[in-house]
Amino acid sequence: MSFDDAYQALTDHDDDARWAYGTGFADPLAGVPTALPDGVDGADLAAYCLMLGDDALILSHRLQQWVTRAPELEDEMAIANIGLDLLGQARLLLTRAGEAEGAGRGEDDLAYLRDAPDFRHVRLVEREDPDFGHLIARLLVFSTWRLALLDRLATSRDPVLAAIGAKGVKEVTYHREYAAGWTVRLGDGTDLSHRRMQDAIDAVWPLTGEFFAPHDVELRLATAGVAVEPASLRSEFDAVLTEVLHVATLDQPAPVTVGRTGRDGEHGDELAAILAEMQELARATPGGVW
């Protein structure tokens, strides 16, 4: 039986570079120095990396739950793509958290072996999306905030955070564009979609207050030139949201303030279900290698 040359071409093993989205074997931080910058507390830096890493990890999990459920194939691809980008950011940040902590924990130890009170993400990322409008509303507020944050993080004194920020800006620019596009389509589309999009914005809005509530770790590291001061992101966030909601003919809810937050380890019941799903297999196979 003779087969085509194409078959031989498939056995070329040098095409790994086309494998995008952080799943390849190349280290996206290759060449970036990993020593802690002078005068930076390792425990603080570890805590900060967990905050930003957990935001990405948990939202990625919620997006993974949409796989095979999207309204169109193009959205199937977009949602998976955004989930992959955030998973890639989470991996880099958790790895950096482990390095800064100095106790030998890697990305998987931190993702799979911590319990709920040790997670540091904002509560917005935990909630389940009742429909596609909620997915979009959450992604809109999250990516608008995170783009502003990563953009400033790109000038961090920590070279690893600076590299993560610079890489993430390109990714999250697309996430925000995707979410804004659907916010406008749904807001402007039909009476039903307008109502659902407004309900979704109203539902996620109270959770946006956490974005700007400063945590002591963030403030200390901001003073040291490593972290971004949360309150500094508010004006960009407000300007973008006002513009997008206006074009989408949606009402902007009133600003909110918050007390204790996910940054302090305060979480809702939904996190328990997320962790049960995410961690079950890893914990059920002691000594397993994957």
Binding site: F3, A6, E76
Partner: protein, 315 residues
Amino acid sequence: MNEQAFTATIDKDQRIEPRDWMPDGYRKTMIRQIAQHAHSEIIGMQPEGAWITRAPSLRRKAILLAKVQDEAGHGLYLYSAAETLGADRGDLTRRLIEGRQKYSSIFNYPTLTFADVGVIGWLVDGAAICNQVPLCRSSFGPYARAMIRICKEESFHQRQGYELLMTMMRGTEAQRAMVQDAVDRWWWPSLMMFGPPDAESPNTAQSMAWKIKRHTNDELRQRFVDMSVPQAEALGVTLPDPDLRWNAEREHHDFGEIDWSELKRVISGDGPMNAERLANRRRADEDGAWVREAAAAHAAKRREATARERQEVPA
């Protein structure tokens, strides 16, 4: 172009393009084959997609999510290729969820453990590659071109699946048992992916004449068996077939009789997961209807607004 030109193009091993004249039977066969292939990619996202949120390491999670995303991409190229023949993606999706068009029966088996993710990559994607590489030379241009890209990505998935299994085989006893169990469950269904034996394959002769298909089902199945045996040895697993052995005379492996009644049962809709796979696809389609309607309504408003502006501005 007319029938003579069509035949001459086929005879010269050149491509038929969407605007060329083609016999109705060729068009119908191509639409059916491409649509079934597209449906298989989309339904095929489900068995592995179920493990993304539970993947036991972040690296495996990323690899799996990227793979399932690739499958959505393959579905998209293929539906687009079918649309060049006059088909409509929405209509093809309705045919799928109403059970009027088929998808590969392999996806009607359940994925019981994480080892299934690796075995699907190794055996199911491996079988798909054997089937699909010759399609890169299919006579219909858009399909052949889509297949080149798809085959490259599938071969990447196969290597990743095999690498996962290799890693698990170096792990604990429980992990090795998990891999063997998954191989036991997927081996025979993988052999069935090549379709009925040549003697009972009604469409093969015409498809070979039109160069839509380049090798018979049994030729491709043999190639797959010959390719898989040394890979199983390197992995350290046993393929569940007592009759599997090298035949020096034929220079191929002999293998046992396939349970064709099982294939017929699964194809006709009685596999373990048929109902659930279609119900999931139907639910996603129904849940997304309001979103698609909103997008269409928004686009229509934009078109009207643009038309009004053009009228208001004197040329």
